[in-house]
Point group: C2
């Protein structure tokens, strides 16, 4: 496992991949949990070379968000990666990625301004831009991303197709704690009471899936019930939406592949979760 | 010379370049003049493979601009290219490049909203986006572009650096008619009287260079004199600026590498020209 901190050095390696090799890339902001590691395992399974980036990307955080306090532990991350076949870890500095005078931004219109994009203006612009930079530096064939950030996957798939990148996204399922909480680096922000409250996201999803299975396909009813459950648990709802899994537009009638997406504040911590209604 | 109209087919060819080959790319909107052909010759001189794209890019034209009337003559263009070693001509349709639901745009901030960007909102967004698409499809090492579109080169160099593309721009000098008019596909719009008037752009540049050589380094004076010359000739000034050749910011004192940039309407035709003050 080679740790690369210099963009030019990583780019040089990327320039010399052979056309016959499949290069797997797992972009991360570090502070690994089992969700991240499942992506690395999936890259190992599908690719000849595995590259993991660890970069807390400042441009995807809003001015009042948690960029500076976002949890970081590079040493622990590297030890965890040692259990896998990771060929390269790319770990650049923000100053290298965004030097003085940086000016270029990528926007995926419509998809970036709804859902999490409505609550976090500029977030997906930062994500789209950093992923373009990382793809140009690393030149992967496949990029492994978790479905917890479902909107992120849709935004980036649209960008890759629109801009004719040859890199494809390989989406991987959400990894959950035993009690159902979706794994997230931000879960460390929760105290023990909040940790219990946080179950309301996965419980609201389960309830919606069960009610859909019982024949309720009106998103308004499903949403009201999810909302009641979350409020009772002490969560503050940012959004609950039932959307088409490709366009992310709200649906009028729920179907198996309709996605329930939700963002909920537990205390000051904003958590997200999602699932296909028919996947229960 | 192979003519490729399908994006996937061109991309397939691009995926299989060998790392040891230098791939030269000349992006054009067709309707070739000697300026375009000088770029092809330069690509031939510097590269193992030469790819020329012919694509009138709708996204860089404003709603009231000349997209539909922009001159096109593919047959003539291909005949002209036959005099050079062109390996591939890439000639996609607008529908292929921007299919229904297209959403992704690249903006190079600051540099895109001044000069031609102030007169043509969205122009450089369209240029930056189409060039990113073409680079991802063709994967060139070097891109040959004429200095007539000086701001375009600066915008794209900034984009390529910011987004960590490995493609580099190889700028090529402006090619002029015998009487000094910078070659442009839009020169066909000029009637014979306007063709004479159009000389005011290169004459204003020459005058500024001469006056600078004589010791006048105050951009205000140089600008006033250029402006007088153009108005006397019947031109309508869009802008005349004396700028730093990297930042494109206006300078307070002219130097050898200060660039005079101008955009002038001759009748309804908007022409541009530029030069370094010290290059006379």
């Amino acid at each position: 496992m080679q740790i690369i901190t210099d963009i030019k050095q990583m780019q040089e390696i990327g320039n010399n991949w052979s056309n016959s090799q499949t290069i797997g890339f797992v972009p991360t902001m570090g502070y690994f949990h089992k969700g991240h590691l499942s992506l690395v395992a999936e890259a190992n399974k599908n690719c000849d070379i595995t590259v993991v980036s660890i970069f807390v990307n400042p441009s995807q955080f809003g001015p009042n968000e948690d960029f500076s306090s976002y949890p970081r532990d590079l040493q622990r991350d590297l030890e965890l990666l040692n259990q896998y076949k990771v060929d390269y870890v790319f770990n650049p500095t923000p100053d290298q990625m965004y030097p003085a005078g940086y000016k270029t931004w990528i926007n995926v219109e419509e998809l970036s301004s709804i859902l999490c994009g409505a609550s976090r203006p500029g977030h997906f612009r930062g994500v789209a831009t950093v992923i373009t930079k990382l793809i140009n530096i690393i030149k992967p064939s496949l990029m492994f991303m978790g479905e917890k950030d479902f909107q992120q996957i849709v935004v980036l798939q649209t960008m890759l197709k629109d801009l004719n990148f040859h890199t494809q996204i390989h989406p991987c399922p959400i990894i959950r704690e035993a009690d159902g909480l979706a794994m997230s680096s931000r879960n460390v922000y929760l105290n023990s009471e909040q940790r219990q409250q946080a179950l309301c996201l996965s419980l609201a999803i389960k309830q919606a899936q069960e009610q859909y299975k019982q024949g309720i396909d009106d998103p308004q009813i499903l949403k009201k019930n999810a909302s009641d459950l979350i409020i009772r648990a002490g969560g503050r709802i940012d959004y609950i939406k039932f959307v088409d899994s490709v366009s992310l537009q709200e649906v009028k009638q729920a179907k198996d592949d309709t996605r329930i997406l939700l963002a909920v504040f537990i205390g000051k911590t904003r958590l997200i979760d999602n699932a296909a209604l028919g996947s229960y």
